[in-house]
């Protein structure tokens, strides 16, 4: 249980930090697609008796690059490309997994998380990958900010914009893979989006936005996990519902920006 808690909090923080970019750059759908695209990666790794996380990583990176490939040139809009690949990957994943005997249980674990099944090695892997992602975000903070805010300045400063964007997609893929265990692929998108969206309402600058987002992510994971334990519901869904509740509170009651506050 303690391992599950640590893993959930780490994932909460990690998703929230990467989620800042997802929310600001309008990558919500892309993030969701990446999460679901992991399914065939995991299924193939399982059938080949390989490492599930590596299978997941490969699938996530393939889907990110495929989306870029199909939407290049503008014939297919990025939105459409994401939708097509997302559905295809999900179906492929379900098809492969349904060939396994224990598929119903396995599928629900992959889709919604299996926090009680977190082993020590899983924890180390989560911490390791998480650290790599956070370190990258810190290292490339200025550069990611410029390419997200002002692509023209990025060109003037001669930043390698294409490279940086691909790096961001790889970091996103790593984040989603790490979330597999605690919230599952079905709900990883929510952990990317909701805490960061809440933080956007509460802050005015990028660095505070990331910090507040990470805090909300951690708190949602902590509270959500306890709720799932006492109410006996799936951990992933409890964490996401907690994060959503926090978002609603802020959205309605935030001084000056809150919907209900403005109607007083």
């Amino acid at each position: 249980m303690v391992r599950g808690l640590l893993a959930s909090v780490m994932v909460g923080i990690l998703c929230a930090v990467m989620g800042t970019y997802v929310v600001l750059r309008g990558m919500a759908f892309l993030g969701d697609a990446m999460a679901h695209a992991i399914l065939p990666g995991v299924a193939i790794a399982y059938l080949l008796h390989g490492n599930l996380l590596i299978g997941a990583m490969i699938a996530a990176v393939i889907i990110a690059l495929s989306i870029g490939f199909f939407s290049k040139g503008g014939t297919v809009k990025e939105d459409t490309a994401i939708g097509i690949l997302f559905a295809a990957a999900l179906s492929l994943g379900v098809a492969l997994i349904s060939s396994i005997q224990t598929y119903a249980v396995d599928l629900s674990h992959i889709l919604f998380g299996n926090v009680l099944g977190v082993s020590v090695s899983d924890l180390w892997l989560t911490a390791g990958l998480g650290l790599v992602v956070l370190a990258s975000v810190a290292l490339f903070y200025k550069q990611f900010m410029v390419i997200s805010f002002d692509p023209i300045l990025a060109a003037t400063l001669r930043l390698p914009a294409e490279l940086l964007r691909n790096l961001m997609l790889v970091l996103l893929a790593m984040t989603v893979v790490v979330s597999l265990q605690t919230v599952g692929v079905g709900l990883a998108a929510a952990m990317l989006i909701t805490p960061a969206a809440t933080s956007y309402l509460l802050t005015r600058r990028l660095w505070p936005m990331m910090l507040v987002s990470a805090t909300i992510g951690a708190v949602s994971s902590l509270v959500g996990l306890y709720l799932s334990y006492y109410l006996n519901i799936v951990s992933g869904s409890a964490i996401v519902l907690t994060a959503t509740a926090i978002f609603l509170l802020v959205f309605l009651f935030h001084p000056h920006r809150g919907l209900l506050w403005k109607k007083r």
Partner: protein, 270 residues
């Protein structure tokens, strides 16, 4: 001002051609601009003024030819070009303050991992004061009016401490306060011997306030001091049917077909 370079030209454009989406826009353009010159880039809509600026900054590749800054090819770290596009394509809802935006102009002077230090902050503050918006330093950029936003980006370009300053139609569609602030800025830049290229439709401004005029219409029609460039022959070559020569010698030029409004002009209120 003598526009023939005596020392290596600060900006040396050598027979460049630029295409946009496969269509050639600029052909065989050659000119040299010395230190500190203030040049107006003039021509009808679609002549390739914006394209020229984008090529100078490296936003568009050259189909042929070369560009040299301080005798070094484009891309060398000694480049210090500040570019103000006609419309900023930034995310106006990004969580940054005015100060954050101006500090971004210092990134070119910093190493990859270096954070903005005291000197950077001082330079940023000076730029803000110069543009008259230092009291807005801690406001989010989404809270600013159109004119104020323009001045933030001018301040950022100043903070870059550039050697070459490119402005794409900075006088089009801005309020008179911002226009005046821009003109004051140009004088300040001249003192610092910064080379300035501005594209404009204001031919009177071009002939009165600039050292040289670059007259474009896909090719270079004329380059030199305003009097030698603004001749009826040159203007006809540039503006064609938009020009009318009256019997008493006056020449009328119609600025037809203003640039299309971009559909994502969010956040700009005047």
């Amino acid at each position: 001002m003598d526009i023939l370079p005596e020392s290596p030209a600060r900006l040396d454009v050598d027979n460049i051609s630029v295409a946009y989406n496969g269509t050639p826009v600029l052909r065989d353009i050659t000119f040299q601009i010395p230190h500190g010159a203030r040049v107006a880039v003039v021509g009808p809509n679609g002549a390739g003024k914006s394209t020229l600026f984008k090529a100078l900054v490296g936003l568009l590749p050259l189909s042929s030819g070369k560009i040299f800054i301080h005798n070094l090819p484009l891309g060398h770290h000694l480049d210090c070009v500040a570019y103000l596009p006609q419309r900023e394509e930034v995310d106006w809802h990004f969580p940054v303050t005015v100060r954050d935006v101006v500090l971004m102009g210092r990134f070119g002077h910093q190493k990859w991992l270096q954070r903005s230090g005291r000197v950077d902050r001082e330079i940023a503050m000076n730029s803000l004061q110069q543009m008259g918006i230092s009291d807005m330093a801690d406001h989010a950029i989404s809270e600013l009016s159109g004119g104020q936003q323009q001045r933030v980006f001018l301040a950022r370009a100043l903070a870059q401490e550039p050697h070459i300053f490119l402005m794409d139609e900075p006088f089009t569609g801005v309020d008179s306060t911002t226009q005046e602030a821009t003109l004051v800025l140009l004088d300040h830049l001249r003192q610092k011997k910064v080379t300035v290229l501005i594209s404009t439709h204001d031919l009177n401004l071009a002939s009165s306030r600039f050292d040289a005029v670059l007259l474009l219409n896909h090719t270079l029609i004329a380059f030199g001091d305003p009097l030698s460039v603004f001749t009826p022959e040159n203007l006809t070559k540039a503006f064609g049917p938009q020009m009318l020569k009256l019997p008493d010698g006056m020449v009328l030029v119609d600025d037809c077909c203003p640039p299309e409004e971009s559909s994502d002009r969010k956040g700009k209120i005047n």
